[in-house]
Subunit: 211 residues, 2 copies
DNA sequence: TCCATAAAGGGACTCCAGTTTCATTAAGGG
DNA sequence: CCCTTAATGAAACTGGAGTCCCTTTATGGA
């Protein structure tokens, strides 16, 4: 029996202040830099430790694997989610959302970073869970816009608000990942208009579930 | 001066028959297996060579890097693209397309494989180009369905046929990558209906370009 | 059928990511 | 302010990915 403490939790959780927090911040910043500059395939923990000026041992102990590090980075990103804006109309709100997504994905640092975290999430369940949480947060932030449109009578009763919000982002991410075309404001507006039109036509009305 | 031959092309191009073809087939099959089973992060050339029962040297010489191997795999996948079906109506055609995409992405082997090649494409320009070519091929195969709908008067003149086809796939890929939700037939039908509704509303009419 | 050589393959070598062990530092409760 | 110990960090070690050099195989034209 080595200790009385009951299977002490992950390192960094008992004394999270001071140095521990500084190490985490430095490591996550460097990890984001490497992902944005060189992509997921070029991220390795030894390199992160070097560039962050932190002990290799620390990085391996606290994050263990590349995908584990990205999962923690995603938790950090989810905490910095911006509040939505409101314009008073469905199309205005959806366009505001679309332009926010578009400007993020078109940004020289953020765009490659998002590509990289999506790539990492395809490689491990825990990282995928962190990515899902990140997008759940974003979708739930914007869903009330759509619900308000339903309440105003702009959209059919029973419209799935979250699905409409996802419908705005989907074509922008699809373009980011599968084509080389630039993501411009026109693409954002088109995505918002298409989602609004489809929602008005009732395409996102929840289908009745058998109990 | 070592040889008269002018900077002989990539290995495998002068004698592509027989053994060379068998090696390529074995390597690509194993690469697909590993990507589907373990994801992009676990693909390494030495392991591929072992499982394909092929010399390590050969794999490194012909493909060089993991992303290079995936790029070749994508070329191979693009050659096996299926012809579209035609049902006579826009919604029928789009649903047929959506269900084909959905069943592919929901397949226990194909789904993870597509995730993995998308991940690989985020890591290198050449691989990204191969992925873009793959999706260009698919989109061009299905675009005529939409053009026929324009010709029949179902959709506004000037509708961007390729953009409509992409609008069908986009929500399915977005769900595959950013949520844990299952990709069922209902999701496919919803994607097709939403794209059709948005197209009817004129959301995909090409905007006039200043000359 | 035979031959020139394109392409595959075997084996030794290097280098570095990832692990382990133990010493050092500083967080945070008293 | 001090002391316990959580957490970091330095150094030695290991295994295997990736490279190099040279031999063997078999393609495809003559």
């Amino acid at each position: 029996m080595e200790s009385v403490s009951p299977a002490s939790a992950d390192p960094g959780t008992v004394r999270p202040g001071g140095r521990t927090a500084r190490v985490r911040a430095a490591v996550l910043r460097v990890a984001g830099d490497i992902l944005a500059e060189q992509g997921f395939a070029h991220l390795d923990l030894a390199d992160v430790a070097r560039r962050a000026e932190v002990g290799r041992t620390t990085v391996y102990r606290r994050w263990g694997t590349v995908t584990g590090l990205v999962a923690d980075l995603l938790l950090d990103m989810a905490e910095q989610s911006l509040p939505r804006t409101e314009t008073g109309s469905l199309l205005g709100d959806l366009k505001a959302n679309a332009r926010l997504v578009q400007s993020t994905l078109a940004d020289p640092r953020q765009g490659p970073l998002f590509k990289a975290v999506i790539a990492a999430a395809t490689c491990e369940a825990k990282t995928a869970e962190a990515l899902h949480h990140f997008y759940d947060t974003r979708v739930q932030e914007w869903a009330p816009c759509v619900q308000q449109a339903v309440d105003r009578g702009e959209l059919p009763v029973g419209t799935d608000a979250q699905e409409v919000v996802r419908a705005v982002s989907a074509p922008l991410y699809y373009r980011l990942l599968t084509t080389g075309d630039p993501l411009d404001v026109a693409a954002a507006d088109q995505a918002a208009e298409a989602a609004a039109a489809a929602a008005r036509a009732g395409a996102y009305v929840r289908t009745a579930q058998p109990e």
